[in-house]
Amino acid sequence: MMFDFLVDLTGSPILAGTIQSLLPLFLFILPFALFAVYLERKVSAHMQDRLGPMRTGWHGWIQTVADILKLIQKEDIVATDNDKFLFNLAPIVVFVGSYAAFAAIPFSSMFIGTEMDLGIFYIVAVTGLVVAGILMAGWASNNKYSLLGSMRSVAQIISYEIPTILVMLSIVMISGTMSLHTLSEQQTGYAWNWYIFGGPGSELSKFLFIPSMVVGFVIIYISTLAEVNRTPFDIPEAESELVSGYHTEYSGMKFAMFFLAEYANMFAVSAIVVALFLGGYQSPIGYLGDLIGAKWMIPIEQFSWFTIKGVFFVFVQMWLRWTLPRLRVDQLMAVSWKYLIPIAFVNLIIIGLITLL
């Protein structure tokens, strides 16, 4: 829909495609990163009985802009022993990996990067690109800490992709679609149509799904937390052990790219959880646009709902980060392989049986 409109506007499908693909970046990722960094600082500050940034603007609201200006001015250091090509490529690959995921995220019924049938599949695939970027960064840095960090990171992301995918599969089994857009459309109506409450409809199977769905939701949230390397799973960049892991050697804008990718990723995984379990862009309480008869308001409301839900889960990620200690690398693997994956499998089987009934 958005695409048709842009084709009409510009007269060229290529131009329209370019604009549409850039829209999430400029409309969403960059402003969100600005906001999320500020939020992280404020959340951590208030949790720790501090004020956080207060000097740059009202309650320090332009702190992130100041940070970015600082990062732009920084010297771009490339050590002599670095593998120059991979070193320069790595931040781009990492950023592209997390940015590409936004193509399939349904922000509202009118605004989705590309409406593909294999949305879930696509997201799992492109976020896998981040792993390659991290490995490149660790290797090319020629620093033992970076290498250890990137090795851990790769092991961690790959391990935690399995429970994520298993939970996604269970949703696919119920809904019969891999498109995040269709999935969000299915959960229309009110909050009880969300998949965490068993999905749309009112037959018996819906109520049977509820416990499995809650378990699935918890599993996917934990494993996405690990996939974006947030505490208690921030082992790749474990500050107290590995200084800052794979991006220790990076400075200036290259570091900013990693940083941006991290925050973009935080929202991306929250968005996936929201789209799968919490109705995507659907309002839990109906639309104001319906009430007053202004249809054009609905996509805007949907966008707001989606952002609110996504940001809420980003906030929970921050909350956890500033509360919990960090696991050790073997314990982290144990959580995934000994607990999450078996539970996710059993859950998948239960959902399969209920679907068959």
Binding site: S44, M47, Q48, D49, R50, N142, K144, Y145, L147, L148, T231, P232, D234, I235, A238, E239, S240, E241, L242, V243, W322, T323, L324, P325, R326, L327, R328, V329, D330, Q331
Partner: protein
Amino acid sequence: MPQDSVLNTKSSAVRTEEMVLNMGPQHPSTHGVLRLELTLEGEIVSKVVPHIGYLHRCFEKHCEAMTYPQIVPYTDRMDYLAPMGNEFGYAIAMEKLLGIQVPERVEYIRVIMAELQRISSHLVALGTYGADIGAFTPFLYCFIDREKVLNLFEITCGARLLYNYIWIGGLSHDLHPDFVRKTLEFIKEFRPNLKEVNDLLSHNRIFIDRTANVGILPIDTAINYGVSGPNLRGSGIKWDVRREDPYSIYHKFDYDIPVGEGKYGTVGDSWDRYYVRVLEMEESCKIIEQALEQLPDGDVQSAIPKRIKPPVGHVYARVENPRGDLGYFIISDGSTSPYRVKVRAPSFVSMQVLNELCKGYMVADVVTILGSIDIVLGEIDR
């Protein structure tokens, strides 16, 4: 990747190499400028060699060029998290050498200061330990309380970190009129805060998983190495200089000596060492409350000698610092400056067991273990 040593395994098909990893001196969790040379097999540590001396300031040699009272501010700079304890030990050694009896009030104030210092020092130990394990929030919670202790020191002697307060034969200042009230207020506020830190960190499942059964220090190893303080008590031995070799007026107070019990793992693991510190802060609160209650009146400077020229001889005195048994050995040749000052630094001794503790654990555990033995590099290097 540059490899320093090559380990050839028996099967020639797979060749594995050891990796030497330099940890520090610029590293967020080596607690100062300590450099650890870790030999790793994968992520498993096979050897730890500490390299020290980055903070060496020639304390002992420097003392020989100064008069006895001039040394007091220099003792502050050894264990900079517990300067009161350092001064206390030096003052006791000098008074023993000079044969001075200090007034009762001085003794009480010294004990109060030393125990407040113990609280503030353990708060730093706890906070940084949490930060080592990835929990950054308890760190700041601990620092809020430490700040209150520093404020108490500030109203007492004007300094917040290096006090120069406990002098030979007396104190530099008497207590501030508000000190007693403010200290009692602090203890009242501190107890619930300590509980909060316990809820947030000590009994957190992830924290326990990271620290219990990690870096177990058996009793005999601890004794053989001469480990003292909370590290020794963490291994389950009820040994405290305040009890074993009483100094000052510690015999007048009623307090317990907490020991490690292996609540979540083995006796002598990192969690035990950590938790002994938590319990010791509560005991320090008890001592401070009793001392404030009994605090006599008097002059704090009456016993300070005008000119310090001790008789020829030597003296050894020790105190229980937050980090363990701090000993001063002073040789006097009858002049105004010492012939030799030797310090037995508890951190230096505790650090020696690092290799024993870390063997077979992972890199992440080295940080855990190093944090749990709570070293201060200022004291190790002197």
